[in-house]
């Protein structure tokens, strides 16, 4: 601790940080541009000048940059000093001489750090009468719009993009006052974290292109605290709605998970919520091939209950992309013995194994923030930037943290970003990756191996054996791999906090068992390790904890007529299992009820379709890969501006359907009741009650506001429908109101913050007002509860080590490769993601390409036991020969790990004819 004196007041601060950080943490306003809590100090913009005094008697003082001055014990500074104020005012005047007269047509306006800082310093008249420098813009792809005139040269963009996120294709060009930030030529920004530029840039140079077409100022958006549904990391987001459409996703600060940054899939993949073809009314088809009629709510429920009453047995198919509450209500409807998780058996086996490992391998699961503090990482069979991108960014920070270690040895403070980076150069903490193809983290790895899944597992088993001799040894291991294993083991053992990362992306249980063995070995030998296992979907972890039969079981029950009706919850079965088996099962069912928010292939096969709410229109709880149960809240009421819609949360539909089925009178329920039921029903999920405050939570006796207090147009936005304004929508489920009325301040600590705003702070930098210290944790604690804790006990090593991979003649092993863009079901329905996604291609080793006599771009069919997939070929130099890389997110006709034939499409067709 250190004592500093600011304008005559004594404050206690942590002492390890710079003065700017300390002042902001104390809640004092100091303007700044180039500094960012995650990027450190470079002292480039000169905006944060304060006056520092030598001692009590010093009255003259000297101007210093607060971001470059340590908050040492006994420091005396003045922020209010006249000379310091004048200095800051003139700095911003210089920065503004070339700034265009753009605010009305700038998409940063209203949440602009430059506007905030200009107001804070009091600069309001332009004195410079000469010409403004201008720049041409670049086309940076479907996500980011570029308007270079607005740049104030703070360098934050390249420092984030290159130094923090490891991007290569954004740079600073030019010299003196001609500096240009962009790519070497027009083109898509390659980094999957490019979207953060919109929040990192203090002005409107980089703005959200997906938001541009339907742009709305931040003060006009209705927000709610939400959780990203596009992967299993559980990043916190603030989705903003206007006129009944989701308009943008902003980062919501969570001190343990995403902190300041999101990946582009999470930020730009929301478009499916706004699709015109979404079901908005219940649909009824007496026969499956009928066109379908729309129904009112009561009629739909009566029809549904009628049909379900008539059949002998109903089963339910849940979904890992639906909330725990919805899955629980489905389970209540169909009974424990009729509930399927809706996950294919192979994936479910991996998920259960991951669950067991997380609990019994002896190593805890670190939060993404803790991942950044590990100093050696072994990644087995995961391409994190494709499967859990935000976690990949955390692993990159773990590797780069070596720079800070080196700096600490030389007494350079960790926040001295430029010095730390110059010192660190290419020194990284060791990261080892075993994965069939190159990954986005390769540039920080100590070593990487392009291996087939079985060989990845063998490498893992060998590492475990090297760490702990009692772990099973791998027989007939080639000397190279043995050497590699020895090296990895030595580096992991030498580390303070070794981390093992694996997951179900490749669908290989052997890899997971190997990762488990390494974790177990480390838990016996090392001090503080961690194990992170990547799941695929937002609620995969939660659904595994809830339990249920795999999807194949449900299809089998239907096909064999042991069940004659099925209720499918937010799950497109055609995305999970090959179409013939799905179609056969659905055709055999007498009644198919589907709840979904997308018009999927499964929806089209339903007798009764109930329009479910997406994450933006419902409340619920999901469990992330670190076992954190987090609540997401409804952002808007879809019926407010489109009164004809009948969208309801799935758990509400299912509760009403059950009540109708049992002829109960009370059909409605609230979120809190459902959560309490759910927590009672599954002991492992008992903690979800505490994941967020319940609907009775109040601050100063007020509910919490979803809308900023400057929200405009309340008395006009609905006036074209009816000039008489209805009462605002009520929310019995959460402590939030669909209104600007309610608490939205920062002085009372609260976990669930819909949007960050503080007087004078309209930009995302306002989050600094909500945290205990800048870049720390929310003052009321970070949202969510951890449900997974490692239990001591079960430390038995897995012994089933697979044989080494051997290529087969005429057969290729299918390796499913996750894709950040296009590899996930719902975000793939958003136009910008489709535009960004690379065209799917089959990856083959260069050797195999030559052997097959095809060249890049040729079409080739992969024929597995359940179906085939035709794609164009692309050679991948590092891919091991004998495997074929198939991009995930396409029709599920192939299974990971199966041996498939390759044929030219015409040959494939010929063979099919022969078979007929």
């Amino acid at each position: 601790m250190a004592t500093i004196h600011v304008d005559g007041q004594r404050y206690e601060v942590a002492g390890a940080d710079n003065l700017l950080n300390a002042c902001l943490s104390l809640g004092l306003d100091v303007p700044y541009f180039c500094w960012h809590p995650a990027l450190g100090s470079v002292g480039a913009c000169r905006q944060c000048a304060v006056k520092q005094y030598r001692d009590e008697d010093d009255t003259r003082g000297a101007l210093v940059m607060s971001c470059m001055t340590p908050a040492a014990d006994g420091t005396r500074i003045s922020i209010d000093d006249e000379e310091a104020r004048e200095f800051r005012a003139s700095v911003i005047e210089w920065l503004m001489i070339h700034h265009p007269h753009d605010c009305p047509v700038c998409e940063e306006g209203g949440h602009c750090h430059l506007q905030d800082m200009t107001m804070m310093t009091g600069h309001d008249r332009r004195r410079y009468r000469f010409r403004k420098r201008t720049h041409h813009n670049q086309d940076l792809g479907p996500f980011i719009a570029h308007e270079m005139n607005r740049c104030i040269t703070c360098y934050r963009c390249v420092r984030f993009y290159r130094d923090h996120a490891g991007g290569k294709d954004l740079g600073a060009f030019g010299a003196n006052d001609n500096i240009y930030f962009g790519r070497h030529q027009d083109g898509v920004l390659e980094s999957p974290f490019a979207g953060n530029l919109t929040e990192v840039c203090p002005t409107g140079v980089f703005t959200d292109q997906t938001h541009s077409e339907r742009y709305t100022r931040k003060w006009d958006l209705q927000f709610a605290p939400s959780v990203c549904h596009q992967c299993s990391v559980g990043c916190n987001i603030s989705p903003g709605e206007r006129y009944g459409e989701l308009r943008r996703i902003e980062n919501r600060y969570h001190g343990d998970v995403n902190r300041f940054f999101l990946c582009d899939r999470g930020r730009f993949g929301y478009g499916y919520v706004n699709r015109d073809d979404r079901p908005r009314l219940p649909e009824w088809r007496s026969h499956r091939d009928d066109a379908g009629v729309t129904l009112e709510v009561d009629a739909a429920l009566d029809h549904g209950a009628d049909r379900l009453r008539r059949v002998r047995r109903v089963i339910g198919i849940g979904s890992p992309r639906a909330s725990l509450e919805s899955n629980h209500q489905l389970r209540e409807l169909v009974g424990d013995d009729g509930f399927s998780t809706g996950i294919a058996a192979a994936e479910q086996r991996c998920l259960s194994l991951m669950q067991r490992l997380n609990q019994s391998c002896g190593l805890p699961t670190p939060t993404p923030r803790e991942v950044e503090r590990h100093d050696a990482v072994l990644i087995l069979g995961e391409d994190l930037l494709e499967s859990a991108a935000r976690l990949g960014l955390a692993v990159r920070q773990a590797a780069q943290a070596r720079h800070e270690t080196l700096a600490a040895e030389r007494d350079i403070p960790h926040w001295h970003a430029a010095a730390v980076r110059t010192l660190g150069q290419d020194y990284y903490h060791p990261v080892f990756i075993a994965y069939p193809t190159p990954t986005g983290l390769d540039d920080v790895t100590a070593a990487r191996w392009a291996l087939a899944p079985d060989d990845i597992a063998r490498l893992g088993f060998a590492v475990a054996h090297e760490i702990d001799g009692s772990a099973p040894a791998v027989t007939d291991l080639d000397p190279g791999t043995r050497e590699a294993a020895r090296d990895i083991a030595a580096r992991l053992m030498a580390a303070e906090r070794p981390l093992v990362v694996s997951g179900g992306s490749l669908g290989s249980e052997a890899i997971l068992r190997a990762a488990g063995n390494v974790a177990r070995a480390l838990s016996r030998r090392a001090r503080r390790g961690g194990l992170v296992l990547v799941r695929r979907e937002v609620n995969s972890t939660g659904l595994t904890m809830m339990g249920g039969e795999p999807l194949e079981w449900a299809l089998d029950e239907l096909a064999s007529r042991r069940a004659d009706a099925v209720v499918i919850l937010e799950n497109d079965l055609h995305q999970r299992l090959p179409a013939p088996s799905v179609e056969a099962a659905l055709a055999a069912a007498e009644t198919v009820v589907v709840l979904d928010h997308q018009r999927t292939a499964t929806w089209q096969r339903a007798h009764l379709g109930l329009p479910a709410a997406s994450f933006a229109e419902a409340d619920g709880t999901v469990v992330s890969l670190e076992g954190r149960a987090q609540r997401f809240f409804q952002v808007f009421d879809p019926a407010h501006l489109r009164p004809e819609t009948r969208i309801r949360a799935s758990w509400r539909w299912l509760h009403a359907l059950r009540a109708d089925l049992l002829r109960h009178a009370a059909a409605d329920t609230t979120l809190d009741e459902v959560i309490r039921d759910c927590a009672r029903a599954y002991p492992s999920l008992a903690g979800i009650v505490d994941a967020a405050p319940d609907a009775d939570y109040r601050v100063h006796g007020l509910k919490l506001a979803r809308e900023p207090h400057r929200y405009s147009g309340r008395t006009a936005m609905r006036a074209h429908l009816d000039v008489s304004e209805p009462r605002v929508s009520r929310d019995p489920d959460s402590p939030f109101t669909f209104s600007m009325e309610g608490y939205s301040g920062f002085d009372q600590p609260r976990e669930e913050v819909a949007f960050a705003w503080a007087p004078g702070w309209n930009s995302p930098q306002a989050w600094n007002k909500f945290t205990d210290e800048v870049g720390g944790h929310l003052r009321a604690g970070d949202p969510g509860v951890r449900l997974m804790a490692p239990r001591p006990g079960d430390h038995a090593y897995a012994t089933s080590i697979p044989e080494g991979f051997r290529r087969r003649d005429g057969k290729w092993q299918v390796v499913m490769l996750p894709r950040l863009f296009g590899g996930e079901e719902t975000s793939s329905r958003a136009a910008p993601i489709l535009a960004r996604a690379a065209p799917p291609a089959l990856l083959l080793a260069a050797d195999d390409v030559a052997r097959l006599g095809v060249s890049d771009g040729d079409r080739l069919a992969v024929i597995g036991h359940a179906g085939a997939l035709t794609l164009s070929v692309c050679h991948e130099a590092t891919l091991p020969p004998g495997v074929v890389g198939v991009p995930a997110g396409l029709a599920p006709s192939l299974e990971a790990g199966e041996w498939a034939r390759l044929a030219t499409p015409s040959g494939h067709a010929r063979r099919d004819e022969v078979r007929k």
Partner: protein, 180 residues
């Protein structure tokens, strides 16, 4: 002392009565509205219009400042972007049954687009008729501000005005040159 107060009071009363009586001979201020038309001063705050710039293009750039300034929140609009790069309101709605004609929208407008006019004859039998859409608001002239042309000042490039062609702008920097 008391007598003096009585005298002063009486004089004051009589003077007031006299002044009131003299009003009977003054020029009549009341108009027989609506038979006689009323001419309001040009800066009177009545019906709101959206104006056009000197080139005849819509002035409104959908920046939302009028909406946020409106104390009764009776303005709502949506930004759109036309082919030539200009921002414009896709819809622009004023609920005049809520409007209090305070003129804050006009104060806030950075492009002189929204202006209050001295027309106050807006009575309707149906409240719904008081909801004005863009076609009801947009007029064919520049209103009170004859010259202002936002895009000539702004840095945003639009068709016909590239980067560096706005007022007080230098030609765009060529970042590939090494010359000073």
């Amino acid at each position: 002392m008391r007598l003096r107060k009585v005298i002063e009071g009486t004089v004051s009363q009589l003077r007031t009565l006299g002044m009131i009586f003299m009003h009977g001979f003054r020029k009549r201020q009341t108009l027989n509205y609506p038979e006689e038309p009323v001419t309001l001063p040009p800066r009177y705050r009545g019906r709101i219009v959206l104006t056009r710039d000197p080139d005849g293009e819509e002035r409104c750039v959908a920046c939302n400042l009028c909406a946020v300034a409106c104390p009764v929140a009776c303005i709502s609009l949506q930004k759109g972007e036309s082919e030539d790069g200009r921002w414009y309101p896709e819809f622009f709605r004023i609920n005049f049954s809520r409007c209090i004609y305070c003129g804050m929208c006009e104060e806030a407008c950075p492009t002189s687009a929204i202006q209050l006019t001295p027309d106050v004859e807006m009575g309707e039998y149906q409240r719904q008729e008081l909801v004005y859409e863009k076609q009801d608001l947009l007029i064919n002239g520049p209103g009170k501000d004859h010259d202002y042309h936002f895009y000539k000042v702004a840095g945003l490039a639009i068709a016909g005005k590239d980067k560096g062609q706005a007022q007080d702008e230098a030609a765009p920097v060529d970042v590939r040159t090494l010359l000073p």
